[in-house]
């Protein structure tokens, strides 16, 4: 294909997206579109399955049967969401195994927040409330993203996630209204998870590399800073309601902006965690790689069995 032809195709492609048409797997697409989507969708999928680990850490220790089944169902949903997203990614011609390979070798990234440890039960509340809260803000706009399989996966994810944040907030309510010890546990969890949750919405717009292109392709509808502001504005009243204090001395309602002003974010910490120096980066990766390696013989056996069955069937037919 000549460069000129390519330019025409690209222009037509961009026009389709601008008209709000969806792109489907077999449609022609610029190589950059394919690569960017593989990167973003797989990062998203990896975040779901690495995200199972910090919460999975408390399944066996959940304090009541009701909490246990809710947490189990939630962590299981995350596996499901990872699966939907890997499947969407596979429509672009890359296998799940290749995607795992990228995760396991550190080539692919996942959301840094899952590199923080879950040290008390209240962390289950804080993750559901804050981390899922921030995730939803990120995800809802993706339901109308330009790539069909991604948009469809996100619609399913958002529908299923609606109980996740409630599940977390309910845990916090119960703790905040409980004994002084429980309330302290809740406040401590909020103190530890607040700032990482704000960082989760991504670097400031000034430092964000992909934003403009992503906006065009509807991989992003709002800038990181806007999303962050939205998250803060919706979360602060929820904290007030249950009598917990957001750990930011600079937090203050700004009447003019009709939004909260907030203090500086420690971006140095963010980049350190991204680079692998978070408290649990190694543990998380060991857990993922370990599960995959321990599963090798299982997956191979199932495949070998299926082949034996298929050839038996063939023999019978002959």
């Amino acid at each position: 294909m000549s460069e000129e032809q390519l330019k025409i195709l690209e222009a037509q492609f961009e026009a389709r997206i601008a008209r709000d048409e969806k792109i489907e797997p077999k449609d022609w697409m610029p190589e950059k579109y394919r690569k960017t989507h593989i990167r973003q969708m797989s990062q998203h999928a990896h975040s779901e399955i690495v995200g199972m680990l910090p919460e999975g850490n408390w399944i066996t220790r959940a304090p009541s049967l009701r909490r246990k089944v809710a947490l189990l169902a939630k962590v299981q949903d995350e596996a499901g969401h990872g699966l939907y997203l890997y499947s969407a990614c596979e429509t672009l011609g890359i296998s799940r195994d290749e995607l795992y390979e990228q995760l396991h070798t550190g080539k692919a990234k996942y959301s840094s927040i899952f590199n923080y440890p879950t040290v008390t039960w209240a962390d289950m509340g804080a993750i559901g409330w804050l981390v899922d809260g921030a995730a939803i803000i990120n995800q809802v706009p993706l339901c109308s993203t330009s790539y069909g399989p991604y948009a469809r996966a996100m619609i399913r994810v958002c529908k299923e996630e609606s109980f996740h944040q409630r599940q977390g907030y309910e845990i916090m309510i119960k703790l905040a209204n409980g004994t002084p010890e429980q309330k302290e546990m809740a406040q401590d969890a909020l103190n530890r998870w607040w700032w990482p949750s704000l960082m989760m919405l991504g670097p400031t717009d000034a430092e964000s590399v992909h934003t403009e292109q992503s906006m065009k392709w509807k991989l992003k509808r709002k800038s990181n800073d806007d999303l962050r502001q939205q998250f803060i504005d919706q979360t602060v009243p929820q904290a007030d309601l249950i009598g917990l204090t957001i750990p930011d001395p600079d937090l203050k309602w700004n009447e003019e902006r009709q939004s909260y002003d907030f203090g500086p974010i420690n971006w140095d910490e963010f980049w350190q965690v991204v680079k692998g120096h978070g408290p649990c980066n190694k543990e998380r990766m060991n857990a993922r790689v370990g599960a995959w390696e321990r599963g090798t013989w299982v997956r191979d056996a199932a495949m070998a069995h299926a082949e034996k069955q298929a050839s038996k069937k063939l023999e019978k037919a002959m």
């Binding site: 220790r61 304090p63 009541s64 049967l65 089944v69 299981q76 596996a79 699966l83 409980g178 056996a301």
Partner: protein, 250 residues
């Protein structure tokens, strides 16, 4: 309080609680996503059953007892599950074999429990049996896949089977409380299920090209609250919150 009925219900429910807990440990660590999700589904089914049984047991116990008191605040000697279900997830072969050996029993047991003269137990059995029917299919299919898969898988699943076989006979033991409840047409006479159980198990094992273990020496004790060394650690996790922060609501 109907002491015998209470104990009888715990004997059933504790199996589901402890097995559900074991499966819960695996969530996020399965051989792949699909299998991970499937095992968690089984765990969720079991915990659902547990809650129905314990809620009923709590009513019988009175004194404002709750499902959580019963689940979390007993001493190890007061848990009445069979030894089989508390065995650890040594590898996926152990997980599947434990599941299979329990599912075949569980299905036969619930089939009979549906006929109980106790309406609540009969209703729980009727609801649960659909779930357990699926569990049995799932674990049987995996026994066949792993048995008739690769050399490595065959070896692993045979090892797991040889190790867990010793816990199968206990499924058909009766405690004193069991005998009384059976005589009242509420409980299931498990001794009558034994032959059918081994026939069904052996049919699947033969399809899975596995050897039926020859050992005739069996371990027992769980139904009387005497457990294997694994149990204490499992309970430490299970009870951690309730023990560390007593008398609180979550």
């Amino acid at each position: 309080m109907k002491e015998n009925l209470y104990k009888y219900i715990l004997g059933i429910a504790d199996n589901s609680l402890i097995l559900g807990q074991r499966l819960g440990e695996l969530c996020g660590h399965g051989p792949n996503l699909e299998t991970d999700i499937a095992c968690t589904n089984i765990s969720l089914d079991l915990f659902g059953q547990v809650r129905s049984y314990y809620q009923y047991a709590a009513k019988i116990k009175g004194e404002n007892a709750t499902e959580d008191d019963i689940a979390f605040l007993r001493k190890e000697r007061e848990y009445l599950n069979v030894l089989l279900v508390e065995q650890p997830n040594t590898d996926f072969a152990y997980t599947i074999t434990r599941q299979f050996l329990f599912d075949v029993y569980h299905f036969l047991f619930l089939t009979e429990l549906q006929k109980s003269h106790d309406m609540t137990l009969a209703a729980i059995a009727k609801k649960s049996i659909k779930e357990v029917s699926y569990h049995r299919r799932f674990s049987s299919d995996w026994m066949k896949r792993l048995g008739d898969g690769t050399e490595e898988s065959k070896q692993r699943i045979q090892d797991a089977l040889d190790a867990l076989w010793t816990y199968t006979d206990e499924l058909f033991h009766q405690t004193e409380a069991d005998k009384i409840i059976v005589s009242e047409n509420i409980g299931v006479d498990v001794t009558t299920l034994k032959q059918l159980y081994y026939t069904e198990v052996e049919t699947i094992l033969s399809e899975a090209t596995l050897e039926v273990p020859e050992s005739k020496w069996f371990q027992k004790g769980g139904k009387d609250g005497i457990h294997t060394e694994h149990m204490g650690y499992l309970l430490s996790d299970l009870q951690y919150m309730q023990r560390t922060y007593p008398n609180m609501e979550w």
